[in-house]
């Protein structure tokens, strides 16, 4: 189907309170519109400021299919610039990580140089531009940057549209999940560490995002992985010390009631987290001196509150998911309707024992890697949906679980963990941003 661009009513009709039309996962036109609307009008995760620890350091990536540079300027401010030369548009830096020599960005094509705030420093043979009017154009003003950038406790987000919801307004209470992740460092500081796993998915980005708060799938999709681990572990002699890998695998095959009682919390604008009451991370063994260090840093009561908050996955719709209790995040990069790059980054908690990073790194490898048996089954299911939805005869994807007719538009609050309400909430936000209605 096509013709959505100029037809907000047709887009609106794709989302029912309890179901979505299969086109939302399959249509190239809707994908393009997502990049132009939902992904431009909302706050998209760019990177973490510890990726650019020193003035002049940069990290380059893409948001909404546009090349950007995360950069620390000489005033120690973290900035985001478009990775596009003001002259003829060459991408300025091509390395993923690097350092600007002499506090300058230099274009590889004709050698225009820029200060770290994006302004033009030098142009070779500058006299050639005298009287041309270049200075009064965008090209003469230097490198463009996203109109709105916020560094929230190290997490840098940008909004590409000059108009749109404010940062706090957009994320609201969901920022408490980032707070909890950062607070888990006795020094209140995170450092990116342990490398980045880059997993190419041949499926729509929304399947991944929806899956992060889908608690009805682990016991089915991950039975072969976690169930096998459980069986092998059960056969070990009594008293064998429990490896961390087993500790991490086993909760994936917990029963339905576990996931239901875990609870899900819904915020406005598509954000949510599972693990209101407890989560699959609740029963990990204590790590060395960590609790003591936390108590020294925060006092016993506050330390207990921070560590007692063990949320499962928090979705920062549409571009980021985080796991505070395990210090891992996943960044969503949609490439095509059926192609999505998922990057998994991990953090060291500054001032915490090294053992914690080992646990984080292990989890990421077991669950989020292209080589992960858990990842294989997730990715298989996303692909299965992508291919299954090619079938005619039923255009609708059901999101009915625990729906009630009176659900309305205001969904914020706590619900039972196996409800599909997080997905319904995501699509309500999707519908608003795709049809140009403002954020809540």
């Amino acid at each position: 189907m096509s013709g959505y661009r100029h037809d907000p009513a047709a887009i609106r009709a794709l989302v029912r309170p309890d179901a979505v039309h299969r086109d939302v996962y399959r249509s190239q036109e809707l994908f393009d519109l997502e990049m132009e609307r939902l992904w431009r009008d909302t706050w998209i995760y760019v990177g973490h400021d510890s990726q650019v620890p020193n003035p002049g350091d940069y990290y380059s990536t893409e948001i909404a299919r546009q090349p950007v540079i995360l950069l620390r300027d000489d005033q120690n401010e973290v900035r985001v610039l478009m990775n596009r030369c003001a002259h003829k548009g060459a991408r300025l830096v091509s390395a993923t990580h690097g350092h600007c020599e002499n506090k300058l960005l230099r274009c590889p094509y004709h050698g225009w140089t820029y200060r770290l705030d994006g302004s033009i420093r030098t142009i070779p043979m500058k006299a050639g531009y005298e009287g041309t009017g270049l200075a009064d154009t965008q090209n003469g003003r230097g490198i463009a940057s996203p109109p709105a950038v916020v560094n929230y406790r190290g997490f840098v987000f940008a909004r590409l549209n000059p108009q749109g919801p404010g940062f706090e307004e957009y994320f609201g209470g969901s920022l408490t999940s980032i707070d909890n992740l950062v607070d888990r460092s006795p020094e209140g500081r995170l450092e990116v560490a342990g490398g980045v796993l880059r997993y190419m998915h041949d499926s729509n980005w929304k399947m991944f995002i929806e899956n992060l708060n889908d608690t009805m799938h682990p016991m089915v999709a991950h039975e072969s992985a976690a169930g096998t681990a459980k069986k092998l572990w059960a056969g070990k002699p009594e008293g064998t010390p429990k490896p961390m890998a087993i500790e991490q695998f086993l909760p994936f095959v917990n029963g339905y009631s576990f996931f239901d009682q875990m609870g899900v919390h819904i915020y406005e604008n598509g954000h949510s987290y599972t693990g209101v009451n407890f989560s699959i991370h609740s029963n990990y063994a204590a790590v060395g001196e960590y609790e003591t260090l936390m108590e020294q840093a925060y006092g016993a009561q506050r330390a207990r509150a921070i560590l007692g908050e063990v949320r499962h996955n928090t979705v920062y719709y549409p571009s980021l998911t985080i796991k505070g209790a395990i210090q891992a995040i996943r960044v969503v990069r949609p490439l095509a309707p059926d192609r999505t790059l998922i990057e998994s980054w991990t953090f060291r908690l500054a001032g915490a024992p090294a053992q914690l990073l080992r646990r984080t790194v292990l989890y990421s490898r077991l669950i989020n890697a292209p080589t992960s048996v858990v990842g294989h089954d997730d990715q298989h299911c996303y692909r299965a949906i992508q291919e299954g939805l090619a079938a005619e005869g039923n255009d609708w994807v059901s999101l009915h679980r625990n729906y009630s007719a009176g659900e309305g538009a205001q969904l914020a609050g706590n619900y039972n963990g196996t409800s599909e309400i997080s997905m319904r909430a995501q699509f309500r936000a999707w519908q608003r941003f795709m049809t140009g209605e403002p954020a809540r």
């Binding site: 490398g195 796993l197 999709a221 992985a225 292209p370 080589t371 089954d377």
Partner: protein, 157 residues
């Protein structure tokens, strides 16, 4: 019993063949109890504990993978994957303290019906003798594109 280079080279070819023929139980038996099957995520990665890897499997995790492949609910393998290693001549890189290190550049194809991935790199086998047999204490697989965005890799490069 002495170990000549010919025996080591033959071991390297046979090891890859067991994987390619999906004789994973026999393959598993080649590893010592303290062995690791390691595929680093970055070039020159110093260890598998403090940095994420693609594989860093001890025997237990290796066993989880192998047993999972037999599980009828391994949905991602209902359409089964097959693989083929193509090895360059293995070379004995070092021999010290009863450990022989073999270096083998390889290409590896993993296919699943109509999709196919091609990987290349260098495989390092650290071999020790236990009783009559040679065993693997470490298999380290360095992919040439370890930092690339990769699709699912479901067997054992």
């Amino acid at each position: 019993m002495s170990t000549d280079e010919q025996e080591l080279v033959r071991f390297v070819y046979d090891e890859a063949r067991l994987v390619d023929e999906k004789r994973f139980d026999e393959w598993y038996e080649l590893f010592t109890d303290d062995a690791y099957y390691w595929m680093p995520l970055t070039r020159g990665q110093p260890d598998g504990e403090n940095h994420t890897s693609l594989f860093y499997e001890d025997k237990l995790l290796l066993q989880v993978r192998i047993e999972r492949l037999k599980n009828p609910h391994s949905f991602s393998q209902h359409q089964p994957s097959f693989c083929q290693h193509v090895l360059q001549a293995p070379r004995l890189e070092s021999a010290a303290g009863g450990c022989w290190v073999m270096r083998t550049p390889f290409t590896y194809v993993e296919s699943q019906r109509d999709s196919q991935i091609l990987l290349a790199g260098v495989s390092w086998l650290h071999l020790v003798r236990s009783g009559e047999r040679l065993r693997i204490r470490l298999k380290k697989v360095e992919l040439v594109n370890c930092d690339a965005a990769l699709p699912s890799i479901q067997l054992f490069p």
